[in-house]
Amino acid sequence: MALDKPYRDIPGTTIFDAEQSRLGYHLNQFCMSLMKAENRARFKADERAYLDQWPMTEEQKQAVLARDLNRCLAAGGNIYFLAKIGATDGRSFQYMAASMTGMSQEEYAAMMLAGGRSIAGNRVTGEKNK
């Protein structure tokens, strides 16, 4: 790959670069469509049928149906776009954030109240002082 990616060693982080953007183009454009109330209604009425109108990969569709945001990220989703799925579901952003971390929403909220996730051990993949 010809793109310089100095950010690859950051743990638990997918930088939305041109490659991810290309991979996730239709997934993200699907998310964008949920900004219109009538599209949200159509999606809720039959999620699969709505998704099938977009030239997304099956993996992208399954990831959306499962509300698995980490799979969506890996498939090229960008969090600002993906957030529109959560909004359609009536979920808070904190609910969505927690779902990506393997924590319950309560645990995640408690971590944030206590000052958030520490940077120590989270700078570089495989770092020792975790």
Partner: protein, 289 residues
């Protein structure tokens, strides 16, 4: 001579967390969770009343609202008469329509393009929480915003965002543009977004107060050096969405001291964790006569 021209009187920096807007809109600002956040802006609201400018040049980023992946402008200047608060998925925020300043915006666009910044001119655009939450924090809940606003959107969604250096240089160019406008307007420039936060992946919830406070210190005292910080440092230290902080350098680059004038006065400084997933930071810097 200079009184015949527009002038930047102050710069304002603030996070633009969407949950802050929601808390205000839903009447939750006095709840224990939110009270410290809004308390941190009380003095700034008073300052804003006492220092209402004629125009705000408001640097922010769009969050997949006005711009989809079809077109991603690095820098976009809003030249329209007005900008509607966007429906980000929950209906538009119940805040006033944003009145633009097409004449000053067009002047800045022309001047800055002629200074070799490759702007995208936007004549129709809805504005999201990136622009409206800072207005709410600084102005409260008025019937109308106190003055016209020129929206200036920066791409921080798809990598690469413009460098800190580029943003700082752009601030200088915007200052020259504003000071060449032949009407004596009092202009504020705002930089919004940040501070440390990460909204995605297993590292979501990252907060780095040491980084944030060092950023605030250096933004005040040594922005020229701060502007040299590479993109990777923002992402690694302040989270994938911490990159929004480069936008603060646009506002900072437009201040008097960068062009050889006096150092600004720190009128307000505030830092708080958390607001939803994000560290909240806020500064007001006033140019000195």
């Amino acid at each position: 001579m200079s009184t015949q021209h527009a002038k930047i009187s102050a710069s304002v920096y603030t996070s633009h967390v969407p949950a802050i807007g929601a808390a205000l809109d839903l009447g939750k600002s006095q709840e224990p969770y939110w009270q410290p956040v809004f308390a941190g802006y009380e003095a700034s609201k008073t300052w804003m009343k006492e220092n209402t400018p004629d125009v705000i040049f408001l640097v922010y980023n769009d969050h997949a609202t006005a711009f989809s992946l079809e077109m991603i402008p690095t820098f976009a200047i809003g030249c329209a008469e007005r900008f509607q608060p966007a429906d980000e998925g929950w209906g538009p925020r119940p805040v006033p329509v944003v009145q633009g300043h097409p004449e000053l915006a067009a002047h800045i666009a022309q001047s800055v393009i002629q200074q070799d910044f490759d702007l995208t001119i936007v004549n129709k655009m809805d504005v999201d929480h990136g622009l409206t939450v800072p207005l709410s924090l600084m102005c409260g809940q008025p019937q109308a915003w106190p003055c016209p606003v020129i929206p200036f959107a920066v791409n921080v969604v798809q990598y690469p965002a413009p460098s800190g250096h580029r943003c700082f240089e752009l601030g200088k160019a915007i200052r020259r543009a504003i000071e060449s406008y032949d009407t004596p307007l009092n202009v504020q420039i705002w930089g919004t977004g940040g501070m440390s936060h990460q909204l995605q992946g297993a590292r979501a919830g990252l907060i780095n107060p040491e980084f944030d406070n060092a950023f605030l210190d250096q933004l005040i005292s040594d922005p020229q050096n701060l502007a040299k910080m590479p993109h990777i440092d923002y992402v690694r230290e302040a989270g994938s969405e911490g990159i929004e902080l480069v936008m603060w350098l646009i506002a900072r680059g437009a201040m008097d001291d960068v062009a050889g004038g006096k150092a600004p006065r720190v009128a307000e400084r505030f830092y708080h964790v958390p607001a939803s997933n994000t560290a909240v930071g806020h500064l007001i810097l006033e140019n000195q006569p």
